[in-house]
């Protein structure tokens, strides 16, 4: 087995030399990646390492930073969970049913990617305030959405929904009806079939979609800041807002310290998603 793998690797290495352009593309890729991404990000790291541990600890445990982190993480988590539910429903509807406006719904899913976040932000905040629709009716029954946690979650549902739909949809398309039929013939009910047959197949894609939506939610700025109210007292500031505020007050030490922690959080999310994807591909290769 190992001998075969080594042989295959060698063959691939060999193939690599047949097609010209290795040096050129490697040069362009590494140079541009370094200039535009790696060196700027490293500048944050270098600066934040010049802070002493006590300074760092003071910044991170200050009221505004602590609660903003909590708000961002909790709201992103809840929004990503809600997106998983609606994402599966949407993906399922789009894959399994043919209906008149299917193309329209399918085409609109990416709207949150196409619509600038600031536009989404001001619109959602107006819609869900007590003068807009549906905010008027929601506040009549005592649900204030704009300028509360609910507002943050609503905005994050908006920006996150395409991630879940677009990761689940292709998996559903490839899913074989046979297993469902078999489960049905063996006497399984529909919900039982969904839970025990379909859901396990969807789980890796769903986790990836969840991770993408969650990561996007934690870093989200434009669509959230108008609807969130940004009150330190009511803990409706998100973490990106706090960084921006520190930047505006020229508090670079504070901004980089918070950014460092955010970088670590997104690195952990990225890493766990990569590990899950690797496990997924290993599983599908074994089948």
């Amino acid at each position: 087995m190992r001998g075969y793998k080594a042989k295959q690797d060698r063959r691939m290495m060999h193939a690599g030399h047949i097609i010209p352009g290795f040096g050129l593309t490697m040069g362009i890729t590494v140079t541009m990646l370094s200039l535009f991404i790696l060196i700027p990000v490293a500048s944050i790291l270098v600066y934040s390492f010049s802070l002493s541990l006590t300074e760092f600890w003071q910044i991170m445990t200050s009221e505004s930073v602590k609660f903003a982190f909590l708000t961002s993480i909790v709201c992103s988590f809840v929004a990503a969970l809600i997106n998983c539910i609606f994402g599966v429903i949407l993906a399922w509807t789009l894959v399994r049913y043919k209906f008149v406006h299917r193309r329209l719904i399918d085409g609109l899913i990416e709207l949150p990617f196409a619509l600038p976040t600031a536009v989404a932000g001001i619109t959602l905040s107006k819609m869900y305030s007590n003068t807009g629709f549906p905010g008027k009716y929601l506040s009549a029954i005592g649900l204030d959405v704009s300028y509360t946690y609910l507002g943050i979650i609503t905005a994050l549902i908006f920006v996150g929904i395409p991630f879940v739909v677009r990761t689940v949809q292709p998996v559903l398309e490839k899913l074989d009806y046979q297993y469902e039929e078999a489960a049905h013939v063996l006497g399984a009910g529909r919900l039982y079939t969904f839970r025990r047959v379909i859901l396990p197949e969807l789980t890796p894609a769903l986790l990836t979609g969840f991770g993408l939506a969650f990561a996007r939610g934690i870093g989200e700025y434009g669509s959230v800041i108008y609807i969130s109210g940004n009150s330190a007292k009511e803990h409706t500031q998100v973490i990106s807002y706090v960084i921006m505020q520190k930047l505006n007050y020229m508090d670079y030490a504070g901004a980089t310290a918070v950014a460092l922690v955010m970088l670590i959080v997104s690195f952990i999310i990225l890493l766990s998603m990569n590990i899950m994807q690797m496990q997924q591909s290993r599983r599908t290769n074994n089948v």
Partner: protein, 287 residues
């Protein structure tokens, strides 16, 4: 035959409601709000000098960003799919960094690099004093361009890589063995396979570049000079008077029109990609 008839209706209704409430309503809401003071007010508010300058700058920044990303995307996709080398997985992960980083952190990164206390500021000063130029990066147009490139960096390569992976390297290897040079191989063999994926990547990149807010917000402070359209919308909205809020919606409606055009382009391209792929398959079968 195993059917899910009884679930069909509720699923379609839930999906339709979700899309109408979360995606279509915000679009309509922008348009309705932008016209709430009449057509003349609308035309007047999108033709102010600030808005016009913002539209021009937005298009300029988008053009440069798309150019840079196309060069990088082609090089990186070629490198990551045509050769195998050590550290390939790491490189692929590094390219995806901007996906999981808050745009505000992207802005912060360039401030920490080129800003007053940034380590690269003396380099820029030295270049300026030698050449007599007056290059400014932070709080000037170059900073806006850099930040936009940062947040859109993986968009093009990410669309091309899966296509190149599925096409395989047989044709290119054959061409190389028969003596074709790298650029000829790219033009005659690779490009026809990836042109729709490239166009799709460019559409996504354009959408994000036009709408980027957080990263640019950190790096741009002069209204009428370095403000892109989303920043101008923010300024109008934050001014807070009834008139300026309607003006903000009017400027937003310009971005909504862009978003809808890009969304349609996306759907046409998706159709083309599928269409071309199925034609390719037929051709391969016939050959």
């Amino acid at each position: 035959m195993y059917s899910k008839k009884s679930f069909r209706k509720p699923m379609i209704i839930i999906s339709t409601l979700f899309v109408s409430l979360m995606l279509i309503l915000p679009l309509l809401s922008v348009i309705v709000n932008s016209l709430s003071k009449g057509w003349e007010f609308y035309v007047k508010s999108i033709s102010t000098t600030n808005v016009m300058s913002a539209i021009r700058l937005t298009l300029f920044v988008t053009l440069i960003t798309v150019g840079v990303n196309t060069v990088f995307g082609l090089a990186a996709a070629w490198l990551l799919t045509r050769y195998s080398f050590k550290g390939k997985q790491v490189l692929a992960t590094l390219i995806d960094i901007p996906f999981s980083i808050s745009p505000v952190i992207a802005g912060l990164a360039f401030i920490m690099m080129f800003g007053r206390m940034g380590w690269a500021a003396p380099i820029v000063d030295a270049v300026n004093s030698i050449t007599g130029w007056n290059i400014k990066i932070v709080f000037a147009i170059p900073g806006v361009v850099l930040a936009t490139i940062f947040v859109t960096f993986p968009f093009v390569s990410r669309e091309i890589i899966p296509v190149l992976n599925s096409v395989g390297t047989d044709e290119e290897e054959a061409a190389a063995l028969m003596g074709a040079g790298g650029f000829k191989i790219f033009k005659k063999i690779t490009f026809p396979h990836i042109r729709w994926a490239l166009a799709y990547g460019v559409v996504l990149c354009t959408a994000r570049a036009i709408g980027e807010f957080g990263a640019v917000n950190a790096l741009s402070k002069t209204r009428g000079k370095t403000f892109t359209l989303p920043l101008e919308i923010d300024a109008l909205y934050m001014a807070g008077s009834a008139d300026s809020i309607v003006e903000a919606y009017a400027a937003s409606s310009v971005l909504v029109i862009f978003a809808v055009i890009l969304l349609i382009a996306r759907n046409v391209l998706e159709y083309k990609t599928n269409h071309v792929n199925s034609l390719l398959k037929e051709k391969n079968v016939k050959d």
